[in-house]
Symmetry: C2
Subunit: 338 residues, 2 copies
Amino acid sequence: MKLILIGFGVVGQGFAEILQNKAGQLPGFAPSIIGVITATKGSLYRSRGLDIGALLSAAQTGSFAAYPEQAGLRRDMTASDIISAGSADVLVELSPTNLDTAQPALAYCHQALEAGLHLVLANKGPVALDHANLRNKAASKGLQLRYEATVMAGTPVMQLAEEALAGCAIQAARGILNGTTNYILTQMEAGMSYTEALTQAQALGYAETDPAGDVEGWDAAGKVLILASALFGSRLKMSDLDVSGITRISSDDITEAKAAGQRYKLIAEATPNGGAVKAMRLPLSDPLASVAGSTNAITLETDLMGAVTLIGAGAGKLETGSAILSDLLAIQRVAGSG
Amino acid sequence: MKLILIGFGVVGQGFAEILQNKAGQLPGFAPSIIGVITATKGSLYRSRGLDIGALLSAAQTGSFAAYPEQAGLRRDMTASDIISAGSADVLVELSPTNLDTAQPALAYCHQALEAGLHLVLANKGPVALDHANLRNKAASKGLQLRYEATVMAGTPVMQLAEEALAGCAIQAARGILNGTTNYILTQMEAGMSYTEALTQAQALGYAETDPAGDVEGWDAAGKVLILASALFGSRLKMSDLDVSGITRISSDDITEAKAAGQRYKLIAEATPNGGAVKAMRLPLSDPLASVAGSTNAITLETDLMGAVTLIGAGAGKLETGSAILSDLLAIQRVAGSG
């Protein structure tokens, strides 16, 4: 299985480390990275495969200039060149999420499907904004479109919903899909102010320097768009969702909820009728109420099984990298590509 | 996909109802029940397929004598005859669990694999007592062995562990795998005595008239044997496990735990080193602590993802029936059998 990676930041490096550490441990699975394209480090292509250790070392220097010479190595190819070079089986799209246009990643995704490549994404943009078209194009070509990493990092909600629960009709999905805000709410319940908790989340690397995407609910909203399209076939836009964040939740609100035996959580919800992101008071008996810190969770309401809840990491280098591995293993199981 | 069912009690009828209700809703999936063998209702075989509605109606009368005549119908065949008749693709083993010998189900399972049939079980016995041999035999013939229903009914822990988390090494599994005892502990925490709670569990149909298998931990222990073999390749016997139940937990113990911010749960655990079933005090921050009533849950400790927790129904007619459907859909995905 020959892979092209677009993007080689935290997730890409986490995925490469996993491949390096698990080499030979996964029977019948022998992927090879043949191309890596980044915005800042340069690009590398070698149809016979790149050396993962050297790739990781070069990435540490900030530039692929540090990657050693090898026979057949090319350093001058664009993403489009590498996709159309015809050697790869899978495009793995790991570039930073853009929820406004999803470009240029979206164009590469379409190009890859047209060129006969399976598609795996950690980049939420193309799935949030154009899932239906990507899915239809993939289906028409007998290719797989996989994006486990986009919703709960490696916690496999998509495989749970689409495969393990394939016999059930899913009626609603509601969850805690943003770890930063859940961390902040957990710390506020323990007595911190919003500002203190946000500062701590930034210090721990959970929150960006500009935290708006997290605390105003937009990151979770992108995940709602993905779930709504994947589970219900909805074609929603961000403007169709009712989105608010946690910026208006005060310490008094948290204390009041606690006194009533409840807990504030930023709940992302998708149903056949639409979607929303809003802070809600949950009773402590709700499995989502006990999800603390940066952990994510989702409850799927189903026809045959009632509620099924999955709880796990929603971010992290190896956690998200493992979602890429899981998607590739699923492609191999179904497509039989070795 | 042509199916033989051994056993047609609650789970079998739930599965048949699901097939009837979902006919045509699952694209590309058109299973046909060609044989049903029971200990008390008789047996039916028709290579061109039985009528599911008529099968369910006949089962309601307690005897397949009420099933109408059809061309090619046979009422006199044994399980062994039907397996060796050569028309079926999958044996679905739904007869009552026997954790001492697993017979006669185990012999039918081996016969079916030797005859080239995939195997799906809700019966815990053969998987708990002979998983390794069944797995090896299935693998050597390119057949699938699936038993989602045996651990948490339709809550898909096996697909989660073996497929969705296929890239992770699982280091331990611990969970609440018996709904009856969890219901009793939940009611005791709400103020009931053990005897009152047990009586209520029996009235609701959760507990058997002889509740020993549940309250002494043996049902959960059978599931530990399954997990230990499936996840770690262990070949444990029941006597290798450290098993105790909830019969020695008093209302005072529950009150004392509650005062300490903890909760008693009957925890079933499998690790590479062995397995156990025992009542434990969990802190309320443990996701398993908030699992109430007859609900089941499991936490898988993994190398790449840390803890992943799955919560859902652990019993029920449609809930368990849906596990059979899920296993058959998985067989179709992988084997491509239509």
